[in-house]
Amino acid sequence: MPAEYRLILKHLDEPGYEPTLACYLRHGGYSVLRRILALEPKVSPEGKTLSPQEQLRQEVSLSGLRGRGGAGFSTGIKWSLVDRKSGKPIYLICNADESEPGTFKDRQIIHKDPHQLLEGMVVSAYANDVHLAYIYIRGEFPQGAKVLNQAISEAKAAGYLGKNILGSGYDLEIYVHRGAGAYICGEETGLIESLEGKRPYPRIKPPYFPAVLGLYQCPTIVNNVETLCAVKHVIEMGGAEYAKLGTPNNTGTRIVSLSGCVWRPGYYEIEVGKATLRDLIFDPAFGGGLRDGRKLKAIIPGGVSAKVFKAGEKVKLKARNADGREVEQEVDVLDLPYDFTSLIAAGSMSGSSAIIVLDDSVDIVEALANISEFFAHESCGQCTPCREGSLWMAKALHRMTHGEGRAMDADYLARIADNIPGGRTICAFGEACSWPVQSFVAKFKEEFVAKGKADEERRSASRQAADVPSAP
């Protein structure tokens, strides 16, 4: 029976649970911090002496934790790429920009359990010799910023943050920085530019890999809110234990934001890969099925950037036989386990783990027009294909949803979209804005063509009507 597995969300919806230090402490808060500050150097089985920091990083590697921000990149590897020899300070940034449409998980933690995030950050900062960390919070979350600032001052007053944390001699300052309302500030290098006080123009990589040339050209780690909370649990449980949650290569838990035409939209924490899309949409423990007896039409499985699945779509997955041979298996999209690898193998992604469910009442062209309008508005405009392509697609879709469609518009849209992704742009926004168009048009082509045809016919009919000489 699929069910929630609340690790990060464990307490925050309990009656009476408050975002205060006292409440957090009552629930065992900051005990992980206390423990790690007491760690001593340890000799590894290979005879190498591991500093407390190295031990912590090793646990994170062992845990198999993958970033919860969107790309699902291994946190252990990300931390191992940090340039520790440059002599420059290392910065930690918590990405709390949560702007991917459909995503509403990080804000739960921020509003209801800010100290969990702070503890995750102190642990991560300590593990990486960081003394200055930032929380970059989306501009539209003024209350979240307030809660975080309140939590920071409480934590500082109680010695969990600031100078000489818990008498250990370790110093860490955390500052909250509010964005000004731009989705692109969630892209890590755009975020860094913004934090430096500039336009959030994502940086070119090479050479500006954050791990080497990040904030103020210093080595920088950018992790999502949920990732940093997960680090706390990794250290609490031990990396190997944590890795037992979820499925191989897709370890731990993930908070899924479920929205759209289901009975029970909301956020659900699951063991990664232990629930399928079908479970998440239809199981009473999660979405509880489609509303009003509607039929499923499409699923956007990882925030609006992710390629859409069509109801009934069959995807081929690679699996291993009992004898270890690789075989291809055809499964219905609904039977995809909700994890990183299966969704990528199925041609989409779990992205920010936001599932948007569309039923048969949804006009697919309208839905795509809505998404494209968002991307045209949010493109930073730095690089040509995304800047011009995102607005071009949005304008074409606006035209199509305002009675000016053409039968050829499906191909027209696809050809615009094909010129944007695949490394043609500076940042992954190029993919984010073109994947929905490519996938909607490819999978629902008949709807685009039908709409365009209908418009053409109506227009030609009204032209003919206008040409008819009026009766004398």
Partner: protein, 562 residues
């Protein structure tokens, strides 16, 4: 910006400093690192390797003298790196060539470093499709007003569209409209609709000039270049943005709508407005100068010049230019009459009774001839210092283009101008009875009109009228640098030559020409009359110029012996 010296000398490169890549299958060996826009050594990029291989990669935002932005995406190429075996050694085909793992994603050539064995492909169907895509995107919101655009003819959007674009547009939506004819600053107009948002102008003023004056407002396709609200784009280098703007978005108020660039004759020249001697191109048509633009010289001005120097050409075409040879009392005498009479008087002048004030705006060749004359006559000489503002980019406090030449050729006192009081005293005392003034108004320098009136002979050569020319007994109309050939020695001791761009007005003649006649007539010795001959003569007799020849100066000049 420090003017730093040029790329790696190939002769000094050891094998460890180079690596070999292939460009479209052809191997090319390049240095591992090359100086970036600031002169810091950084890994060689694909675009540099392609250039070394003689393969052009189209680009808009990349400029070798600016930090890399990587935003236009015009330079996307495909590439691969050598496949490695289990022993980490590259795998080879039976013919010995490397087996290449082609990258599934393209890379921007302007920012991607090369590595040993890398294969770069600039001409695959995919690369062509990507370029076509970028061009189409750039054009959909472009106003296509080439017929009235000043950039037409030197526009990268036009050029690349022809070379890499498609003929037909698929775009059926309404274009984005943006501000047109934006008054950015005193010398610059901006047409935001033409702008392709390459940010070259922003980077130039922010990183080279250190005046963070330009930026982008709005988002996405509505992005718009603008000056900081309430501020003018006004520094002494703004016009360089017009040169580096790949399209017709930034235009010079001085030049816009005046002339189609394809009608302009371009002559390599040197700016005369300060001791830097920025290398320039003079754009002229039918003897009229329409604009100056900087010409790249890594040792002198890189790709830039200052706005003051660029716009300081209008006087050349002034109506009141001196155009007649005049002798007091006899009017327009023509060259032969005047030079004959001057030579006669100079031959008769006793040693030490003649003084010479020679402008440090004259050429090396002219100063050399004047030096010969002065020595023959035992004349006291000096030049006139001319100083003003300077900056740490290009502009020198010394506003003479050839102060170094005037010193090396022994005409200027040290410090320059310090002998002027002695000359004034000599005139006052009656010891100096003949004064030759070349290219200066001495009345504002302590040799006032009253003193000039005491002279028996005042020979003045200049290009524009002033109180000194008004007092002249003999007035010889000279030429602006643009109207003659010659060379200057800049503050670095770099000798830079320039050809003639336009004809002088009226009877005006290049000074070196009539000076050679005069010096021959006075000394009785024959002197070369060609600029080449004069320069080479000078080089053989003045130690500082030893080893130089006119021909060897080339387009970028040579340094004097130090």
């Amino acid at each position: 910006m420090a003017i730093t010296s040029s790329p790696t000398d190939p002769a000094k490169v050891s094998p460890a400093d180079v690596l070999t890549v292939t460009v479209n299958g052809r191997p090319i060996t390049v240095p591992r690192t090359q100086p970036d826009w600031e002169g810091r050594m950084v890994p060689t990029t694909m675009i540099q390797a392609c250039e070394a291989a003689g393969v052009t990669v189209p680009h808009y935002c990349y400029h070798p003298r600016l930090p890399v932005a990587g935003n236009c995406r015009m330079c996307l190429v495909e590439y691969g790196v050598p496949a490695l075996g289990p022993d980490r050694q590259p795998l080879r085909n039976p013919d010995g060539s490397l087996i290449i793992n082609k990258s599934p994603r393209p890379a921007i050539a302007c920012a991607t470093p090369v590595s040993a064995g890398m294969a770069i492909y600039t001409d695959t169907p995919n690369v062509r499709a990507m370029r076509e895509g970028v061009l189409e995107f750039l054009l959909i919101n472009h106003p296509l007003d080439c017929p009235i655009c000043d950039q037409a003819g030197e526009c990268k959007l036009q050029e690349y569209s022809l070379e890499y674009g498609q003929a037909a547009s698929r775009f059926v939506e309404t274009k984005v409209h943006k501000p047109k004819a934006v008054d950015l600053g005193p010398r610059i107009m901006l047409d935001d609709e033409r702008c392709i948002l390459c940010t070259r102008c922003i980077r130039f003023t922010r990183d080279v000039v250190k005046d963070d004056a330009l930026g982008i407002v709005n988002r996405g396709s509505y992005n718009t270049i603008a000056a900081y609200p309430g501020r003018q784009f006004d520094n002494n280098y703004t016009l360089n943005t017009v040169d580096i703007c790949p399209v017709g978005a930034l235009t010079s108020k001085d030049f816009r709508f005046k002339m189609r660039v394809w009608f302009l004759k371009e002559t390599k020249s040197v700016c005369t407005s300060c001791a830097r001697g920025c290398n320039t191109l003079i754009g002229s048509r039918e003897n009229v100068i329409y604009r100056l633009t900087p010409r790249d010289n890594p040792e002198v001005n890189q790709s830039w010049m200052c706005d003051f120097g660029r716009l300081n050409y209008k006087w050349i075409g002034r109506e009141d230019r001196l155009r007649e040879v005049r002798a007091r009392g006899s009017g327009n005498t023509g060259w032969t009459g005047a030079l004959g009479e001057i030579a006669r008087r100079l031959r008769a002048a006793p040693q030490g009774c003649v003084a010479l004030i020679a402008s440090a705006r004259l050429t090396n060749e002219e100063l050399y001839l004047l030096g010969l004359l002065a020595r023959h006559l035992g004349a006291m000489t000096d030049s006139i210092p001319r100083t003003g503002d300077f900056d740490h980019i290009l502009v020198q406090a010394d506003k003479n283009p050839n102060s170094a030449g005037a010193r090396l050729l022994g005409l200027a006192a040290e410090p320059m101008g310090s002998r002027l009081p002695a000359i004034a005293d000599g005139i006052r005392a009656g010891a100096i009875r003949t004064l030759l003034v070349f290219g200066e108004d001495v009345t504002s320098r302590g040799v006032n009109a009253d003193l000039l009136a005491r002279l028996e002979t005042l020979v003045v050569s200049d290009v524009l009228p002033n109180p000194t020319t008004a007092a002249a007994h003999f007035l010889l109309p000279g030429c602006a640098a643009a109207e003659k050939r010659g060379s200057f020695t800049n503050f670095q001791g770099r000798v830079q030559r320039f050809p003639k761009a336009v004809e002088p007005p009226g009877d005006a003649r290049p000074e070196a020409e009539f000076l050679a006649d005069l010096v021959t007539a006075v000394t009785g010795q024959k002197w070369p009359t060609s600029i080449e001959g004069l320069f080479n003569h000078m080089a053989s007799s003045v130690p500082a110029f030893a080893g130089l020849t006119w021909a060897a100066l080339g387009d970028l000049g040579r340094s004097v012996a130090t």
